[in-house]
C-alpha cells in the first residue's frame, strides 16, 4: 500500500499526478489536519535560531556569537519527535558546557514554551552550548 507521513502540525493536502500521462487530471485531497505527536524532547533556541517544526533538525539559522559575561536570552520548547510544539507546563532546567556560566533558575514552561530572558551568560570564551 502507499504510505505517507506528514510531519508538520497544521492543515495540509496531498496531490497525486500521473507521471506516465500528464494529460490525465491530477487529484488533490481536502485539507488534512495534522496534530502534534507525543511529547518527546526539549528544544533550545539560542539567538539566531528559529523553530522549524517538521524538519530534520527542528530549527533554522545558526547561533549568533555572544560576548563573554553578557547575558542573552534562550527559548525552551517542549516538542514531539518532529519538533512540533507540545502544550505542557513541565519545569525545565538550563545547563551549559561552560561550567562557569551563569544560568537562570529552573522554570515551568507555559503552554510548552519558556523564554529565559537574559537567562544565560558565558564566562569562558569558546563555542558553547
Amino acid at each position: 500500500m502507499l504510505s505517507a507521513t506528514l510531519k508538520t502540525v497544521g492543515a495540509w493536502t496531498l496531490t497525486s499526478s500521473d507521471v506516465s500521462d500528464p494529460s490525465k487530471t491530477s487529484n488533490a485531497s481536502p485539507s488534512i489536519t495534522v496534530n502534534a505527536g507525543a511529547f518527546a524532547q526539549l528544544q533550545v533556541l539560542a539567538p539566531g535560531e528559529t523553530n522549524a517544526p517538521g524538519t530534520a533538525t527542528g530549527k533554522t539559522g545558526a547561533p549568533l556569537t555572544q560576548a563573554v559575561t553578557v547575558a542573552f536570552s534562550v527559548t525552551v520548547m517542549a516538542v514531539d519527535a518532529n519538533w512540533n510544539l507540545i502544550s505542557t507546563n513541565d519545569t525545565v532546567a538550563l545547563g551549559a558546557s561552560d561550567t562557569n556560566a551563569t544560568l537562570a533558575a529552573n522554570a515551568a514552561l507555559v503552554a510548552g514554551t519558556r523564554t529565559f530572558t537574559n537567562g544565560v551568560a558565558f564566562k569562558a570564551p569558546a563555542a558553547k552550548r
Binding site: 507521513t5 508538520t8 496531498l14 500521462d21 495534522v34 517544526p53 512540533n84
Partner: protein, 156 residues
C-alpha cells in the same frame, strides 16, 4: 400493457427510476398512445436496472429492466483517497467522508485510483503516479505504478 404484455392505448404519466442512485433520469412524461421513449444516463459501473412506474394510476404494476451491465468509461483522471474518505463511483465528487486528523510523524495509508469522468475505477491502467504534499517536510512514497485490475499501490 395488459396482463399478457399487449400494448394498451393510454396517456398515463410515467416516472423513471434506477438502481444507480447517481443516474441522470428524465422528468415524468405522459405516454402517447401507450408508449414513450426516455433518455437515461447511468453513471456507476456495475449491474444496474431501470424501472418505469405509472404515476397516474399507482395500482399499475411497475416494471424493471433486466440488469444492465455498465462499464467504466475511458481513463480520465486520478482519484486520491486518504483516511476518512471512501470512493463513491458515479457521484459528483467521487467520494464520501472527510479526511480524519493525522498525527505528525505517524504514517498512514492512501489510495490512488485511475478513474473515468464519473469516478469509476478503470482497472486496466498501469500508469506511474507521483505524490506531492503542501507539507514540504512530509515523507512521501516514491513514484509508483498503478496495479492493473485494481488501484494503486506498491508493485507486486
Amino acid at each position: 400493457m395488459d396482463a399478457n404484455w399487449n400494448l394498451i392505448v393510454t396517456n398515463d404519466n410515467v416516472g423513471i427510476t434506477s438502481s444507480d442512485g447517481n443516474a441522470v433520469l428524465p422528468v415524468n412524461a405522459a405516454l402517447v398512445a401507450g408508449t414513450q421513449g426516455f433518455t437515461v444516463t447511468l453513471k456507476s459501473s456495475g449491474s444496474k436496472t431501470v424501472t418505469a412506474s405509472d404515476i397516474t394510476h399507482a395500482g399499475i404494476v411497475a416494471n424493471a429492466s433486466s440488469p444492465i451491465t455498465v462499464n467504466a468509461g475511458a481513463f480520465a483522471r486520478l482519484q486520491l483517497l486518504v483516511p476518512g474518505e471512501t470512493a463513491s463511483p458515479g457521484s459528483a465528487t467521487g467520494k464520501t467522508g472527510t479526511p480524519s486528523a493525522r498525527t505528525a510523524g505517524t504514517a498512514f495509508t492512501l489510495t490512488v485510483n485511475a478513474v473515468d469522468t464519473n469516478w469509476n475505477v478503470v482497472g486496466s491502467v498501469t500508469d506511474t503516479v507521483h505524490l506531492t504534499s503542501t507539507d514540504t517536510n512530509a515523507a512521501l512514497p516514491a513514484d509508483t505504478a498503478l496495479r492493473a485490475a485494481r488501484k494503486c499501490s506498491a508493485p507486486h
